[in-house]
């Protein structure tokens, strides 16, 4: 645990990729394989299920620290992270543990799951007393399933590849599924990751690392100069679903999500459809909500994913389909080095005579013509276009080394909204007000004076009269601003605070933001009757007076568009 804690401290302290890589390599050079197996699992994003409920962790820590729950809560508000709060409120340890990470996980943490609450509490108290604050922090993170560190999976793969003298892509492929929630990585699993090329046989259902697209940040007028002719690109609709690979080998079928989770059992209708694929095929594509021969809203898919068991009713209410857009393996042969257009032809051939569909290509003479076609995105329930270069190989992760996939997404819907509540963020943003609640006017104010009267009433803490002009909350957002902008907004919030409700502050409204979102729907759960999807701040509208912020009618009008 000590070694893993000091690795974590190094990774956490540094922002430079090269020093993170060096720290990882040093760790791999020193750590026993069993520990390295688990370290790799956690660093690459593996999360075992939570073993002790959060409420129990809080109560136990407060009890051990000899403080009341309200005081623990104050500490948590200052820190912004439960594991870190616990690490610091506890008194200094009486002794120190020399156990390695693997022993900690296998002999202590995993058996803790399902144990009696009294046993869990006794164990935790004993363990806390043999770890220093950074180690306790990690322990609680691992127990709570909230471990995160500033390294990408790609970087872990690079470090392992450098450590073992392998190609990072090979390591990436071997690592697929390594971080599955059910995985129990051990020395053998770790050895298989770093075995010499050609050895370390691939597991039967092993998928390929997903090739990820980049957001297209090229101005429209520069498309010709930067992208060349549209004829060099395969243009497809960008689906709003779950990215997945279907692996069909030796008569069996596996479905992997982009999160490297094996989700085969969740999509029986896709498994059924995949039966007709020849052995040795791997498809890349999107699982989408599909009803009556057409795309259905993403919310339905979400609804289905949220269910623990798949009842007949759910299967009937929220059917899905797989739309294939790439072929990574055919007849057992890895096709990833073949150009995009060739893989595409092979894909169409392999899908012939199967019930699986492929994503149609969109033809366009010019970028202008495509831009016009892209206008249909919302009514088609897609997010815009994917542009894939004809010659692109299928890369590994978010790289442009092998060719490029661009996401040419439609502009988000947007409204100008007023900041009315703020809450401090977590982690790096703890004690900075970064999470905001936004409101629009219930109708357009007649003029600045009428709006001002509403603001004055808010400041006097007078509740709004029914039917009178008021600000109606409709969305929360916490992303989209730079650190400098957050600091500035934080300053304004502190100056304009009216009331504090625990961690939340109400403010005298003074800031207007352009708020972007991907979708909008009616929702009885929101005061405004409207819910937006992926809201985020596009910019601060310092130029916009408060009374010119948007209204409920603006949102209603967008309901029609989206």
């Amino acid at each position: 645990m000590k070694r893993f804690a000091s690795l974590f401290a190094e990774l956490d302290a540094s922002t430079a990729t090269h020093s993170k890589l060096a720290a990882l390599q040093r760790y791999y050079a020193e750590a026993p394989a069993a520990d390295a197996a688990w370290a790799t699992y956690f660093l690459a994003g593996g999360k075992p299920r939570q073993t002790v409920p959060t409420a129990a962790l809080r109560a136990l820590a407060a009890q051990r620290a000899g403080i009341a729950e309200w005081l623990f809560e104050e500490c948590y508000q200052a820190v912004g992270d439960l594991a870190e709060t616990i690490a610091h409120v506890l008194p200094a340890p009486a002794r120190r543990s020399e156990l390695g990470l693997a022993q900690w996980v296998q002999e202590r943490l995993l058996p803790l799951r399902g144990a009696e609450p009294a046993t869990q509490a006794a164990q935790l108290l004993a363990w806390w007393d043999e770890l220093d604050a950074p180690e306790r922090f990690l322990l609680v993170k691992l127990i709570g399933g909230g471990f995160r560190v500033g390294v990408s999976k790609l970087l872990v793969q690079r470090a392992l590849a450098a450590h073992a003298g392998l190609d990072a892509k090979l390591v990436a492929q071997r690592m697929m599924g390594y971080t599955d929630a059910q995985a129990r990585p051990d020395e053998a699993a770790f050895a298989a990751l770093i075995a010499p090329a050609g050895e370390g046989r691939m597991a039967q259902g092993q998928p390929y690392p997903f090739f990820l697209a980049h957001a297209l940040d090229v101005p429209r007028e520069d498309f010709d100069a930067r992208l060349g002719s549209p004829a060099d690109w395969l243009v497809e609709w960008k689906y709003d679903g779950i990215r997945a690979q279907i692996v069909r080998r030796e008569g069996a079928c596996w479905i992997w999500s982009r999160g490297e989770e094996l989700v085969t059992e969740r999509f029986p209708e896709i498994v059924e459809a995949a039966q007709s694929l020849p052995d040795g095929s791997v498809l890349d594509g999107e699982i989408v909500a599909w009803k009556d021969g057409a795309l259905a809203p993403f919310q339905r898919l979400q609804h289905r994913i949220g269910r623990k068991s798949l009842t007949k009713k759910i299967l009937a209410d929220a059917p899905v389909a797989f739309i294939a857009y790439d072929l990574l393996e055919a007849h057992g042969e890895d096709l990833r080095e073949r150009p995009q257009h060739e893989r595409r032809s092979l894909l169409e051939a392999v899908l012939q005579g199967t019930p699986l569909q492929f994503s149609p290509q969109v033809a366009g003479e010019s970028w202008d013509a495509l831009a016009t076609a892209r206008e249909q995105s919302r009514e088609r329930r897609v997010e815009g276009f994917m542009l894939k270069h004809r010659d692109a190989r299928y890369g590994s992760g978010r790289t442009k080394a092998d060719g490029t996939w661009w996401k040419w997404k439609i502009e988000p819907l947007s409204v100008d909204a007023v900041l009315v509540y703020a809450q401090a963020g977590h982690g790096r943003r703890a004690s900075v007000y970064t999470d905001y609640t936004f409101a629009v006017w219930s109708r357009a104010p007649r003029d600045a004076a009428e709006a001002q009267a509403v603001l004055d009433a808010i400041e006097r803490r007078e509740p709004a009269q029914p039917g009178a002009l008021q600000l109606v909350t409709f969305a929360k957002a916490y992303s989209g601003l730079s650190d400098a902008e957050f600091r500035e907004v934080d300053r304004v919030i502190r100056q304009t605070t009216i009331e504090k409700f625990g961690p939340v502050r109400s403010v005298r409204p003074s800031l207007v933001f352009e708020l972007g979102f991907e979708g909008i729907a009616r929702s009885p759960r929101h005061k405004s009757g409207i819910a937006v999807r992926f809201p985020r701040m596009l910019r601060i509208r310092a130029d916009k007076p408060l009374h010119e912020a948007d209204t409920l009618q603006t949102l209603e009008a967008l309901l029609g568009v989206a």
């Binding site: 309200w70 104050e74 709060t85």
Partner: protein, 333 residues
């Protein structure tokens, strides 16, 4: 009668007609220590602990200052005033006020650590028995527990040593008055040369003049030799972060020494390579220990987590309240 009350100018002693660390100009001011939020210009008369004299004059220029040795008392309008070490910085004092059979103590800022450390660059905190204790609360949350100083300095030394071995300067930022001298007195000076920023050296002189042993220091601006810079520890105020002044060191590692570095979020916001948890203020156990040692039945909390501390103290059976002050706004910690 309350011996200290809150007024717009600052904390005021009605029977003695004087102020403690006032933030607006007044006739008579008792100054607990020379940090800018406690010692301001423009008062008629200043009373402060004798070891603070050099720094106060250096910072405030021409003032009418009456230095008072720790433990000695003066009488003013029937109020007996004495100053007692607070362990915060050179010359920092708690103000003991005795009148009409009552004793009140105003702590100013002080350092007492749960780990049992003393601040070795000044006279250590001395508990003073009183009826009412006016306490700071900068780190008044149970998450603030300082590790033993030797462990922190071992970390700083190890960081410096590794940088020196790799041929890069170690720039350690900390407030120039108090923190810088704590750092200088605590590090292993045999690791390499020690350079300081121009804002730090006059304070070093004041400490040395007061008999505090500090290792030899040179002004960073006077050293051009790359080989020296590459092995050096550079002690500088936080204001140099991101400034052109840092360019002279070429490749370097930067760090920040402050109690606030206890939290990961604060470390990451600071954007430096390392954060060392080193404070001149009491940690949570230190505050509890200091308050208990006064034997006071009434406690008034000034700056920091006032509301939390007041509620906690009330739950411990003390009569607790708070003063709203203008201390701690630009507080080094």
């Amino acid at each position: 009668m309350d011996l200290v009350v809150q007024r717009p100018e600052g904390l005021y002693c009605p029977p003695g007609d004087f102020w403690i660390d006032p933030w607006r100009p007044v006739d008579r001011a008792v100054i607990t220590h020379a940090h800018a939020d406690h010692a301001r210009r423009g008062h008629g008369h200043y009373l402060a602990a004798a070891p603070a004299e050099g720094v106060l004059r250096e910072r405030l220029g021409e003032i009418t200052l009456q230095p008072l040795a720790y433990g000695e008392a003066v009488e003013h309008r029937g109020v007996r005033i004495s100053l007692h070490p607070a362990g915060h910085v050179l010359g920092s004092a708690q103000v003991r006020i005795e009148h009409g059979g009552q004793v009140w103590v105003a702590s100013g800022d002080y350092f007492v650590s749960g780990a049992g450390d003393d601040n070795r660059t000044c006279a250590p905190f001395e508990p003073v028995r009183c009826d009412c204790f006016i306490t700071e609360s900068t780190f008044g949350l149970p998450i603030y527990r300082w590790r033993p100083q030797r462990e922190v300095f071992a970390d700083i030394d190890a960081w410096w040593r590794a940088n020196a071995a790799a041929g890069r300067a170690s720039v350690l930022m900390g407030y120039s008055f108090g923190k810088a001298q704590r750092i200088l007195a605590g590090v292993d000076a045999s690791i390499g040369p020690i350079l300081v920023h121009g804002a730090v050296e006059p304070l070093n002189e004041a400490y040395r003049a007061a008999g505090v042993a500090l290792p030899a220091t040179r002004l960073a601006t006077e050293v051009k030799d790359r080989a020296v810079l590459a092995r050096a520890l550079v002690v500088a105020p936080p204001a140099v972060a991101g400034s052109a002044w840092l360019k002279r060191f070429g490749e370097m590692s930067d760090a920040f020494a402050s109690g606030w570095m206890q939290l990961r979020g604060a470390r990451r916001r600071q954007g430096v390579d390392r954060g060392f948890v080193l404070s001149d203020h009491a940690d949570w156990p230190g505050l509890q220990r200091a308050i208990a040692a006064t034997g006071a039945s009434r406690v008034i909390v000034t700056h920091g987590y006032e509301a939390v501390m007041v509620r906690w103290l009330a739950e411990q059976g003390l009569q607790a309240g708070s003063f709203s002050t203008e201390y701690g706004d630009e507080e080094p910690a």
